[in-house]
């Protein structure tokens, strides 16, 4: 177990090194900090002075180290576009994205797992077949189309829900939440469904497949031989043993949710990090891009690490090795 932890940690360090290297490249080589601060009309002497002051005359490796040091405390410089510290821009947008991703993950779990259990228990039922068919569509359909269909039905035709924005938000410290107001919750509905559809289909198929597999195992036959009720066999013994891969997939999916949140945020004009990065690319705002890259790298590494740790906790076999 110690050696497993050690290899995982080495790979974490390696990934973070590569990501911060890329982030540094974007920040340093693509953007020009001197031009950014002084503007294009500064004299050569002024430029040289600032270069020295910023440490840009130092060797690249020293500059890289300084970049990492500053990034570690959240200092990514100033946005080219609106002249605010990048970290402030990120922190304003972070809650919107995290609430969306969290809501989508919960929805996916709460809908996907029961649907998976049901379709595994009644594989030939009519409802199961319908669910299976819909899930095939859910996997093949791009998110933005699902979002657009929802907007068409619920915003344009029925006029029930607003097609863009977060609704009213409440400020708690630096965190703005949309979870405490009615309009905030209503605004969350369509983006959440859009983001969750793929995950629901995925989790449902996974739970179904795993349960069908577990049903064939000897220990299930044994639980039957012991005369346990169907309920105990299915929910306590079978389900528990089929949830292990679900943990991995859900964990990894949270990562891809952050990626697909960019698309959903674009469809619903959801003011999160995804819209921020899209605007940053449009305006060549390199500090924001560098910061986003670092954020993405950090969150993915953290998620992967948490998934591995949960595995250790849940599966006793991993601990013996």
């Amino acid at each position: 177990m110690i050696s497993l932890l050690a290899t995982r940690l080495t790979s974490v360090v390696l990934v973070m090194l590569v990501v911060s290297g890329l982030s540094f490249c974007v920040f340093n080589f693509l953007g020009d900090p001197v031009n950014n601060i002084l503007g294009v009309n500064a004299t050569l002497e002024q430029r040289e002075e600032l270069r020295v002051a910023l440490g840009l005359d130092q060797p690249t490796i020293v500059q890289f180290w300084r970049f990492v040091e500053r990034a570690a405390v959240g200092d990514f410089g100033v946005s080219y576009r609106n002249r605010q510290p990048v970290i402030d821009l990120m922190l304003v947008r972070l809650p919107a994205t995290l609430e969306l991703v969290l809501a989508a993950t919960l929805t996916a779990l709460l809908v996907g797992i029961p649907m998976g259990i049901y379709t595994a228990l009644r594989p030939r039922g009519l409802l199961s077949r319908v669910v299976q068919l819909v899930s095939l569509l859910g996997i093949s359909m791009p998110q933005f189309l699902i979002g657009m269909l929802l907007i068409l039905v619920f915003s344009v035709e029925l006029r029930w829900l607003s097609a863009f924005g977060r609704g009213e938000t409440v400020q708690i410290g630096w965190w703005t939440t949309g979870l405490l107001t009615t309009s905030g919750l209503k605004a969350l509905i369509m983006p959440t469904i859009t983001l969750a559809v793929f995950q629901i289909s995925m989790i449902m198929r996974l739970v179904r497949g795993e349960m069908l597999e577990v049903f064939r195992a000897d220990f299930i036959k044994f639980t039957r031989a012991r005369g346990l009720s169907d309920r105990a066999v299915y929910l306590t013994h079978a389900l528990r043993n089929s949830l292990l891969p679900v943990i991995t997939v859900v964990g990894l999916q949270v990562g891809s949710l952050i990626a697909f949140a960019i698309v959903v945020e674009a469809v619903f004009q959801w003011p999160g990090m995804g819209l921020l990065i899209l605007q940053a690319i449009e305006f060549a705002d390199f500090p924001v891009m560098a910061a986003y890259l670092a954020f993405v790298g950090f969150s993915f590494v953290t998620i992967n690490l948490i998934v591995d740790m949960t595995y250790l906790l849940v599966d006793p076999r991993m601990r013996v090795k």
């Binding site: 693509l30 189309l145 344009v156 990626a259 698309v263 992967n304």
Partner: protein, 307 residues
């Protein structure tokens, strides 16, 4: 000629052909896919209008609904967009670009993946370690995120004059680079098995060079599984391109793919003109779904472990 008919007869009698004949959904998916490819390839001849020819466009015909709703005309079966372009024709032309980008991107990632996988598997040691570690790092991020970043950075770095015309290649590069790892892993695994076999030893004894052994002796024996992965990769590549284009990072409006068409129609969705974006969307779903169904089937049939 007799040899050709003989080959065809052999093929018709093969297990593969039998499995194909006996699975109606796959026949259906293949027919749909081939029909879509035909529409895309023959767009110049079969499209009812030419959406790129400004002379044939009439602004009076803009935003017409499809033929079956009020105000639609038989001249434009699926309606028109805000500049009076026929949606059906735009879909044919757009599908051609989507397919081309998807195919080229898959080809590109197969090439990188196969070469790196062969190198890693054959040479082993530090070459293997470096390539596979790189792959591991890349795999900890979703493909779409990597394509998104490569594309975004490339878009900014390029000189403004070149941006539009180079989009096609940049998108292919971005998607291709984002997806090489799975091919490299597969090829590496089978290369490691193949290189211990006698025919490789025989080639080595006959003083055949390393590069030639890898490319002409080992490669043909590792390519099978890659073809299956590539089919599935095509669906992913087409979808990735559509997402990038939808976000405004993919194909430009002058060279619209299905994703670009959907993006353009998205702004008009709120005013109720749904056909401008949703018909290209339906075409995209149909295309990806048919590719995926064929890919899934190929994987099941050609993978001996699943039989």
């Amino acid at each position: 000629m007799t040899r050709l008919t003989g080959l065809l007869k052999d093929w018709a009698a093969s297990d593969f052909a039998w499995r194909f004949r006996t699975s109606p959904p796959v026949i259906f998916a293949t027919v749909v896919f081939l029909a879509l490819v035909f529409c895309a390839a023959a767009a110049n001849w079969i499209a009812p209008h030419n959406p790129f020819d400004p002379a044939t466009l009439d602004i009076m015909d803009s935003r017409l609904p499809p033929v079956w709703s009020d105000g639609g005309t038989a001249k434009y079966l699926l309606g028109t967009d805000e500049q009076g372009r026929d949606i059906l024709s735009s879909i044919f032309y757009g599908m051609r670009i989507s397919l081309l980008v998807g195919l080229a991107a898959v080809l590109f990632s197969v090439t990188i993946g196969v070469l790196l996988g062969l190198a890693a598997g054959y040479f082993g040691g530090w070459v293997d370690a470096v390539i596979m570690r790189l792959g591991d790092i890349q795999l900890s991020f979703p493909t779409i995120m990597i394509a998104f970043f490569i594309d975004g950075v490339a878009k900014i770095v390029m000189p403004v004059a070149m941006r539009e015309e180079m989009r096609f290649y940049v998108v292919i590069l971005a998607i291709g680079v984002a997806d090489w790892v799975q091919f490299a892993r597969t090829v590496r695994a089978s290369t490691m098995v193949e290189r211990r076999k006698d025919y490789v030893a025989a080639a080595r004894i006959s003083k055949v060079g390393g590069a030639r052994i890898v490319l002409t002796h080992i490669l043909p024996n590792t390519i099978g599984p890659v073809l299956v992965l590539a089919t599935l990769g095509l669906g992913v590549a087409i979808l990735t391109e559509a997402i990038l284009s939808f976000l405004g990072l993919g194909m430009p409006p002058a060279q619209p793919s299905l994703g670009t068409l959907i993006r353009a129609g998205n702004d008009l969705l709120l005013s109720g003109e749904w056909w401008i974006s949703l018909f290209p969307g339906a075409a995209l779903v149909l295309l990806v779904l048919s590719v995926n169904m064929v890919g899934d089937w190929l994987r099941d049939v050609l993978n001996p472990r699943l039989r």
